[in-house]
């Protein structure tokens, strides 16, 4: 039996179960004092990182499947749009026009929520976002957006690298939370991995309820981490033991947070429910810096009009409720929200009343800190690359701006290259 194990048991006898959970994880936390966690034993606090109450938060909304940018931000002033999309084109009269409609673009008719945010100066619409030599495979292009590396889109994600770069070699549990089944690659760092779950109720072991003698051995088994003798570096077992430890810590904090009823009504759709959970966790002041939510269904190869319209309703209504909630909480100033999709869709509709995989598309940034309005020109519908839009701005310039201005990090380290930060924030940020 190794020494750490003996130590754990001694502490347990002296101080009981709560302390055992802290003691067993000291090596992970002791350096967290650099972030203001002065007392490593005070783990069950649900407040934000001590000394940094105004910490900024990023919420990423992933639109999976390739959102049709041209039917999201609609170039209704361009006849070419209607020629390419005789059936799928949104009639000009239905478009929610930006300003007076003089620039010939506007939002999908179901994006009334976003239109309201636009009118309130809380929405930045960045047009024509993409990257060179676009890849039209869902998975590869999604990986490119997640890794921020079009040349070799494998390995770590950009958010994971951000945490790896700022954490002085010690992972911050709960720093990043993804709502959903799978932890997104974007949040995977070498050290830092996201907490992820679909419903907080499932986020604990039920065996402890069976008999009180099971709690202690369960803790020993799951809180040992990779320090248990015989666990070799780089193996699946090492990965599993670390994940088991992270699960124990995160479980306690998160279940407390989401029990609280939100201040505003959220729509009962998938995205609405996910953002409601994020809103609750922000309100509970978890020390989480990045939240990630995902909806899919945007791969509209056939019969696009109806399904895309429903998705637009969902996006608009959920984001509007979320921003209202943050305002009611008084947290709006510290939460930046960003939407993206792996690619847009081809300019021309196909024979199945749908659209095939394309390239550049708009991104939305939301919150009072963004430079409101429409940023960048709409991509040309005639100057195309193999039937697809040419991008106007590299997505890594958006990431760079978020990293530099919002998260106050060195974007060159995270993005492994220099990208000129896009001007997406108002001057005070």
């Amino acid at each position: 039996m190794c020494n750490e194990h003996a130590y754990t048991r001694r502490i347990f006898l002296q101080k009981g179960l709560t302390m055992v959970s802290a003691a067993a994880t000291v090596p992970y936390f002791i350096q967290s004092s650099a972030f203001g966690l002065t007392d490593p034993f005070d783990l069950l606090q649900t407040s934000s990182i001590a000394g940094k109450p105004q910490d900024r938060i990023l919420v990423v909304v992933q639109l999976g499947g390739g959102n049709d940018g041209l039917n999201t931000v609609v170039p209704f002033g361009d006849d070419q749009y209607y020629r390419a999309r005789p059936q799928l084109g949104i009639p000009a009269n239905n478009v929610l026009r930006f300003g007076g409609g003089a620039d010939g673009i506007g939002l999908h008719p179901n994006l009334t929520g976003l239109k309201e945010l636009h009118d309130d100066g809380l929405l930045a619409t960045v047009q024509g976002v993409g990257y060179p030599n676009p890849n039209r495979s869902h998975f590869t292009s999604m990986d490119i957006w997640h890794t921020a590396n079009p040349q070799q889109p494998s390995g770590n994600g950009w958010i994971g690298r951000y945490f790896d770069n700022t954490c002085n070699g010690t992972p911050e549990p709960n720093a990043e939370i993804a709502i959903g089944r799978e932890a997104p690659k974007a949040m995977m760092g070498d050290l830092n991995k996201p907490v992820s779950f679909e419903t907080a109720d499932l986020f604990r072991w039920i065996g402890e309820d069976l008999h009180n003698s099971l709690g202690e051995p369960y803790e020993e088994i799951n809180r040992g981490g990779d320090r248990v003798e015989g666990v070799k570096a780089g193996t699946q077992l090492e990965f599993l033991t670390r994940t088991a430890l992270n699960a124990q810590i995160a479980s306690e904090q998160i279940r407390n947070a989401v029990r609280v009823r939100p201040l505003v009504e959220y729509p009962r759709n998938q995205l609405g429910q996910q953002l409601q959970m994020v809103g609750s966790m922000i309100r509970a002041e978890l020390p989480t810096r990045v939240y990630y939510v995902t909806i899919s269904g945007f791969d509209t190869h056939a019969g696009q009009a109806g399904s895309h319209a429903n998705l637009m309703t969902q996006v608009g209504s959920a984001l509007l409720a979320f921003l209202k909630d943050l305002k009611a909480q008084g947290n709006d100033g510290r939460v930046l929200t960003m939407t993206f999709s792996e690619f847009g869709r081809r300019v021309k509709q196909n024979a199945s009343q749908g659209t095939d995989h394309g390239t550049a598309a708009p991104m939305f940034l939301l919150g009072p800190m963004v430079r409101p309005g429409v940023l960048g020109p709409h991509p040309s519908l005639t100057d195309l690359d193999q039937g697809d839009l040419k991008f106007g701005i590299d997505f890594r310039c958006i990431y760079a701006a978020i990293l530099e201005s919002w998260l106050k990090a060195d974007s060159r380290k995270v993005l492994k290259g220099a990208f000129r930060p896009a001007v997406i924030f108002n001057k005070s940020v």
């Binding site: 495979s137 479980s251 199945s352």
Partner: protein, 499 residues
């Protein structure tokens, strides 16, 4: 370091851990008795038993096990009625017809749910584990999702096709996949027309099903392949070649010119070395090691050797799998208990090896979804990524909780279903242990035996100590309650997730 060659394992090296490994990887594990039997049989007979399963009788699947007429397209009369109602702006009739359609969709969703249970039950009960294991592999490989096609019977037909070709000929399966209604609907080829070919099937056929992304083809090959595949469609539950949709013009694929159709396109793909290499890699990841780190040169060479074996057997999978399951490489220490169990593996293996009662299939299917492997609903055409992507902090809890449920009947909130009192008799697991003179099992022996039966490799010393202390704190008598308690703890160990 595993060997790069396909040479077989020495017969005398086939012991408990090797037999256990084979039974888990080529199937879904087994009881301590079954593992003992395999050791007794030896390597060759064990591998033959798993692969030549056609000799083993099993429950036949009949075409009418599920209804094939729920999602049939509207009849000419129905279509006419709908058109008339539309012209007359007869909202009442239109609403009634819409309701009928919705009712069918509801029934169909019920049927796909029943199919999920049916398949899971089959995997748990089958006397031919490799047949179901390969069917699962092919489902993940040619991943088709119900949510997109909304036709449960087409999913059923596809599932039967995978079972038919499970250890059959992969090339023949590829010719069938471009005729499969579920696949044609899923990748939108059913409406692909020579005027506007839909590239979806052609792209995924090469990227995900046969060659691997960017592995020896160009964007132009995709466009030309899409032309070759135009007209490959279906009507009702049958393949249909729509001659008027098909582009019979000249195409250039892989630099070769011809008036290729979809079958020619598949033939050209199968002729590429990259195809056998990609399939060998996929089989390796599924059966041997999911390769979380960089691939060692010896492993790479082994996969290339396996690919050569596949080419010389003209894509016949039985001899290839036979070579794989006999190889020394397969049993190398680096590959034993080196994979993370898929959710299906976790559930099916637990029930098969521990013989826990199946309390409610609904709950098991629900748990599969929460753990990220909702069968018939793969997350995308890429299938399930597997490996570390199965595990995050939350799926780990679902995994632990599901095992606790199987052992005790307890249920966490969030599942559809309710707690039941389990009637699990765990004492049967110890049937071959000898009792002491006091008529009781010795604690240490029971702990060691349970760890050996549940885990894929030698247990960590710390776990043994934890279990012994747990037994002590409960009075030490080895009874049904104590065994169940110990099994709850063993199945909550991080290493229990390994296969």
């Amino acid at each position: 370091m595993p060997t790069a060659t396909l040479k077989p394992l020495r017969p005398d090296a086939f012991g408990h851990w090797e037999a256990n490994h084979l039974l888990r990887r080529a199937g879904f594990g087994g009881t301590p008795d079954q593992v003992r039997l395999l050791v007794e049989w030896g390597l060759d007979r064990s591998v033959d038993y798993l692969i030549k399963y056609r000799e083993i009788p099993t429950e036949a699947i009949k075409p009418d096990d599920f209804r094939g007429d729920i999602m049939t397209p509207p009849s000419p009369e129905e279509r006419l009625a709908y058109r008339k109602a539309q012209e007359a702006q007869d909202e009442v009739t239109l609403e009634r017809l819409r309701r009928l359609r919705q009712e069918r969709q509801r029934q169909d969703r019920q049927q796909v749910r029943a199919m999920q249970q049916w398949w899971l039950k089959r995997m748990i009960e089958t006397p031919r584990p490799l047949e179901e294991k390969m069917t699962l592999f092919l489902h993940g490989h040619f991943a088709t999702g119900y949510r997109t096609i909304e036709n449960s019977y087409h999913m059923f037909l596809q599932n039967q096709m995978f079972r038919k070709y499970a250890v059959g000929n992969f090339a023949e399966l590829c010719f069938q996949i471009i005729r499969d209604p579920a696949m044609l609907a899923f990748l939108d080829n059913n409406e692909s027309h020579k005027r506007q070919p839909n590239e979806n099937l052609a792209r995924e056929l090469m990227e995900l099903f046969t060659l691997g992304e960017g592995n020896g083809y160009t964007e132009n090959d995709i466009k030309e392949g899409a032309r070759a595949l135009t007209g490959y469609s279906f009507e009702g539950n049958e393949f249909l070649f729509r001659e008027d949709f098909h582009d019979d013009g000249q195409k250039v694929i892989f630099g070769k010119r011809g008036t290729y159709n979809g079958d020619d396109f598949v033939r050209l793909i199968l002729g590429r070395t990259q195809c056998s290499e990609f399939i060998a890699l996929k089989l390796y990841r599924f059966f041997v090691n999911d390769l979380p780190g960089p691939v060692e040169p010896a492993v790479k060479t082994f996969i290339l050797n396996l690919a050569r074996e596949m080419r010389s057997n003209k894509y016949d999978l039985a001899p290839v799998l036979g070579t794989l399951f006999r190889s020394e490489h397969f049993y190398d220490e680096a590959n034993i208990a080196a994979e993370i169990k898929s959710p299906v593996q976790l559930v099916v293996e637990a029930v098969r090896s521990l013989k826990t009662p199946i309390l409610d299939l609904n709950i098991l299917v629900d748990a599969l979804e929460l753990m990220g492997q909702d069968v018939f609903f793969p997350p995308s055409v890429k299938g399930w990524v597997g490996g570390r992507s199965w595990i995050n902090t939350s799926t780990l809890f679902v995994r632990q909780n599901l095992l606790t449920h199987l052992l005790t009947g307890r249920l966490p909130s969030g599942f559809r279903g309710s707690s039941t009192r389990s009637k699990f008799d765990a004492m049967h697991l110890l049937a071959h242990l000898t009792k002491g003179s006091d008529g009781e099992y010795a604690q240490t022996e029971a702990v060691d035996f349970l760890l050996k039966s549940c885990l894929g490799a030698k247990p960590l010393e710390a776990r043994r100590a934890t279990l012994l202390e747990f037994a002590d704190s409960n009075g030490g008598r080895v009874n049904n309650e104590l065994i169940i308690g110990m099994l709850c703890l063993i199945t909550a160990m991080p290493e229990y997730q390994l296969c």
